[in-house]
Amino acid sequence: MGNEEKKPKINLAIYWGAACGGCCVSVLDVHESLFDVVAAADLVFWPIALDIKYKDVEAMPDGFIDVTLFNGAVRNSENEYMAKLLRKKTKILVAYGSCSHMGGIPGLANFSDKESLLQRVFDDTESTENPKKIRPQTEYEVKEGVLDLPEFYNDVKTLDQVVNVDYYLPGCPPQTERLVEVFMAIVTGAELPPPGSVVGALVKSQCDECERKKSDNKKINKFYRPWEIEDDGETCFLEQGVICLGPATRGGCGVRCIKGNAPCRGCYGPPPDVIDPGAKMMSAIATMIDSDDPEEIAAIVEQIDDPAGLFYRFSLPSSILRRTIK
């Protein structure tokens, strides 16, 4: 500690794009480690906690911020503007959490498009009364002048689809312990992995940590959704017919979902050599189908209700197809 005090503090920024706020909460979840963080860093920008305006950020010299933890996907022009601004002002930009990493849950909006989303929210919802069909606008005149409002995009993008990203720290949200490890590595000046790496997660996937009993008997005659089956709590989910994305998802989260008897949903993203985790998992799962008869196979496949949503729950905008087409 004593040595560290002598070192100059780094400037830390935390920003959220299209996100639920869970990632910011995960930062708060450092609990007593907060002291270590504060000892090592000055928080120069964190809208959820500090009143620092965009213009203050704009005023910072380029590269002023040492580390920015950017959570949330890029959903509108404000997200994009801030991503680009922070990229300019930051030395190390970290995509923090599944949304900025792979699109995350907001990324599921790529199954839809801007128009149908707005229609649902501003016209169709049961509680909406909007006779004038008012829709969000990018400019609005008030007596003080013209307001510039963010433009809602058609597509959800990951952070690296907008700006260069130095590191990815996956998770929904990332495990706080992993954040602390990564943060401390940065501030202590430890040797950092090459830019573009995933940090705060393991190379091996979930099964490596998973304590459930696994065998080579991965043959599926019927797919179950988790609530359709009484989990024995010990056997590999796949061997019970429950789709678990564990094998195609990096470890590092502490297999918390699986420990809670819920199959992995893939928030930690793919292991290093996997390009499209959904496609990989589809391939693996389909291979396990225990039939050679085309009709029977089709019937078993039919039991998977929503393959796109299931296999790409956290990764749709970063997948090969990225979004639905019409």
Binding site: K204, S205, D216, P271, V274, T287
Partner: protein, 578 residues
């Protein structure tokens, strides 16, 4: 990483490619592709000068990747890999673009074909960047050979191998050696006695210490790979294990059952008999009807079950000549009989066969042609005034007349079809069936003896209907191939196997039950899967099933294939609307 330096060679294949693809233009245009150092076109890349060109360029331009755009890699991939090897480059740093079989030969618009050639080459160029050096591996060759089937083919192969002092295990499902030849009287075209040919051979086999004969024996299970197979056989219920390095499949065929052809009513006419039954009659020495009389009118119907859309489309090959042989034998035994052939057309290729036809047709034999496609002859019961037992009605094709033929005996020249257990056995030994349910050889022209499974050979009629000389030649050819391998001592095994990256493998074991060769096992201690690279045949199924990306299929990696896709579909080469 060293700089990627690719040499691209576009083959003319004489005019085969150059006629439909503007090869010069292709070579010129592709020169600007990334990493391409030299790009050339040449008349015949597979020729010695063509290969020398590559070798020279590799040395001169320090190439470390080569793409040849020519015919199918199934034809010349090995040729060019050898050339790379001769130039001191790893043979796997090579990729072929198939612009002949898949382009110039199948398309008609030169511009389109040229554009397609460019996309195929772009794919190959993209792919070859990701190629890696792979090292050859060899295993020791077990000098014993398993021969399945004790007919003339199996016997010939067994003797050939055992005569050079190598061990042979000869397995026969019936209780005696000899196969179909045991039931044959004389053989065409020279009328040698079949028994006199086969009996001494069986004696020799039985007295050869290097041949272990297993009668009444079935194969239960086969594992291993070329040079090191092992099998479980069951002989009269007792199981036994054998180890050997090569397999010859010589299971032969069986006769077609004519019951299904209604027009012949084989089941109900006692004097409508199959060629197999007639052969037995000849062997017994007397041609008699079921009533014990000498038949005055004998009709032979050809192509029963052969060359017919409803039964077998292929030609059974030996029946025409067998039928002619019958005519000669009948003519000698019953000089005053009337002999009729109802045939589709006479196939008399092969040594001495046309001569047999000419000789036979001079013996007062009547040939009547029927329409094979939709107008088979019909056999009917004759009335008393017809003075014969049956009448065969047919529309004679050459005369255009509807005729009837008197018959006291009808011989159906039944087709030869594959054995009913051909498929099961094929799956056991790893040989596929063709559309006619016969075993597929490795190459119909250039490798008609080997199969796509290394170390497994098909000989005789299990590969397609054959006569004796062809079966024997094929059997001896297989024996020669095996002896050469035994002599060499070792065999090369598959290089393009799957490999597990233990850093990434999470031990989910999805791959283990996917492997058709049980080449993958689970290492509990390390919690990873392990590929036995000797057993692995490189199909890549495990690589596709692996959800973690830990399994790499050598030479067919994700990266290589995805790059090839990118190249194939690169924008600049897209099809234009026409």
């Amino acid at each position: 990483m060293e700089e990627t330096r690719i040499g691209l060679y576009v083959c003319w294949c004489g005019t085969n490619i150059a006629k439909m693809v503007d090869v010069e233009n292709v070579a010129k245009e592709m020169e600007s592709m990334p990493n391409v150092v030299v790009s050339k076109d040449y008349k015949y890349m597979c020729s010695d000068p063509g290969q020398d060109l590559i070798i020279k360029d590799i040395k001169e331009h320090n190439l470390n990747r080569v793409v040849v755009s020519a015919c199918s890699p199934r034809i010349h991939e090995l040729t060019f890999r050898k050339a790379l090897e001769n130039a001191g480059l790893n043979p796997y740093m090579f990729e072929m673009a198939n612009i002949r079989e898949h382009d110039s030969w199948v398309h008609t618009d030169r511009e389109e074909a040229t554009r397609k050639a460019k996309t195929l080459i772009a794919g190959a160029l993209n792919r070859v960047r990701w190629h890696e050096s792979l090292e050859k591996r060899t295993v020791d060759m077990n000098p014993a050979t398993l021969i399945i089937g004790g007919g003339i083919a199996g016997i010939s192969a067994a003797l050939e191998i055992a005569d050079s002092g190598k061990k042979v295990y000869l397995i026969e499902k019936s209780d005696k050696l000899g196969g179909h030849l045991l039931n044959v009287d004389l053989t065409y075209p020279y009328m040698y006695s079949a028994q006199e040919m086969i009996k001494p051979k069986i004696d020799r086999i039985e007295n050869n210490p290097d041949i272990d004969i297993f009668l009444n024996t079935q194969i239960e299970d086969l594992t291993g790979y070329v040079g090191n197979f092992q099998t479980k056989i069951s002989q009269d219920g007792a199981e036994k294990e054998l180890k050997f390095g090569s397999i010859i499949v010589a299971t032969g065929l069986r006769a077609f059952n004519p019951d299904s052809i209604k027009d012949y009513d084989y089941a109900n006419f006692p004097n409508v008999i199959t060629s197999v039954e007639f052969e037995a009659m000849l062997k017994s020495g007397k041609i008699l009807t079921k009533e014990g009389k000498e038949p005055k009118n004998i009709s032979i119907i050809h192509c029963v079950g052969s060359r017919n859309h409803d039964y077998h489309e292929y030609c059974s090959r030996t029946c025409c000549m067998t039928a002619l042989k019958y005519s000669n034998q009948i003519r000698s035994a019953l000089p005053d009989s009337h002999i009729y052939h109802a045939y589709a057309d006479m196939r008399a290729f092969g040594k001495g066969c046309e001569e047999l036809y000419t000789k036979t047709s001079g013996k007062d034999v009547i040939f009547l042609m029927y329409d094979q496609k939709n107008d088979l002859p019909k056999i009917k019961k004759a009335s008393v005034k017809d003075k014969c037992e049956m009448l065969i009605e047919l529309n004679e094709k050459l005369s255009g007349e509807s005729v009837e033929v008197a018959a006291d005996m009808v011989i159906l020249m039944v087709a030869m079809e594959s054995n009913d257990n051909a498929k099961t056995l094929g799956q056991t030994v790893g040989v596929s069936l063709c559309g006619n349910e016969f075993y597929i050889e490795k190459h119909p022209k250039l490798d008609p003896v080997a199969t796509t499974t290394d170390g497994v050979y098909v000989v005789g009629s299990c590969q397609s209907p054959k006569d004796i000389p062809d079966s024997v030649s094929q059997a001896r050819a297989a024996a020669a191939r095996i002896l050469a391998k035994i002599n060499y001592g070792t065999v090369e095994v598959e290089v393009t196997t799957a490999v597990v990256n233990e850093e990434l493998c999470c031990g989910c074991q999805t791959c283990v039950c996917v492997c058709p060769y049980t080449a993958i096992s689970y290492d509990e201690e390390k919690n990873v899967s392990v590929v036995n690279e000797v057993l692995c045949k490189g199909c890549g199924t495990c690589g596709s099933a692996c959800p973690t990306g830990a399994i790499k299929c050598r030479h067919y990696t994700d990266q290589q294939i995805l790059s090839q896709i990118e190249g194939l579909l690169s924008k600049s080469l897209e099809l234009q609307e026409v």
